[in-house]
Amino acid sequence: MSAANEECLLELRFPAQANRMVLVRDTVRSAARFCGFDEPDTRDIVLAVGEACQNVILHAYAGREAGTIVLGLLRGEDRLILRVTDFGEAIDPAKIEPRNLDELKPGGLGIYFMRELMDSTDFGPSPDGVGNVLQMTKRKGSARW
């Protein structure tokens, strides 16, 4: 699943349950530091992964037994690639859109956060035919707004 210039650092598999997220965040934090990201970037990466997994927990497995999340951490030359795979129903990527922030309401920030925090986010059906893959990329030294 990785291009020639992408190296697998680590892959995590865990049940899509909220109480696992603290473990996942610790691992992602460690991986971001390992890749040489500074603390603000590291926090941004951790938040983006938190939001991605949260969406799997809340939406991908909504109304059925909690499935598995696979989180792949890959290192490119100048970037960290995070690949979140679920095994839920395939979702139309067009439906995964940020909402307008001008309206004050609880919720609906996850997709927006991920897009703001990362250099790229791509959501699509899993190449294996079951579920979805959200791939996010963070480049080193990419400007924070």
Binding site: M21, R43, Q54, L104, P106, F113
Partner: protein, 110 residues
């Protein structure tokens, strides 16, 4: 992980710490809405919070809206830089009343 509620000069001050995520947000939401429901001004001390995600933010937004409906105040004090980053990201840093500390919050009349 502690959620401590104290009364200070007629206001309820809620001190949070650690990481506020999807696992913790439902309990936090209940606590905040319950405090706001008591008809008192509520201040949430975020100085010890090192992480907050959209689910934690949602609980705070919901509480702010409930307080507005009640005609009471809902403010944040001593927001840590890590958390302020997330409020800025959500463009909520101007929506919430954010004070450096309790005394600054107190100085603003209801």
């Amino acid at each position: 992980m502690v959620e401590a509620v104290r009364e200070e000069q007629g206001r309820l001050v809620i001190g949070l710490d650690g990481e506020i995520d999807l696992d913790r947000a439902p309990k936090l939401r209940n606590l905040l809405l319950d405090c706001v429901g008591r008809g008192r001004d509520v201040l949430v001390d975020l100085s010890q919070v090192t992480y907050i995600d959209s689910s934690g933010i949602a609980s705070l937004v919901e509480s702010l809206q409930k307080a507005a409906g009640n005609g009471t105040r809902f403010g944040l004090i001593a927001v840590s830089p890590e958390v302020m980053r997330v409020f800025e990201l959500a463009r909520l840093d101007k929506v919430f009343a954010i004070y450096p500390d309790f005394d600054a919050a107190k100085a603003v009349v209801s």
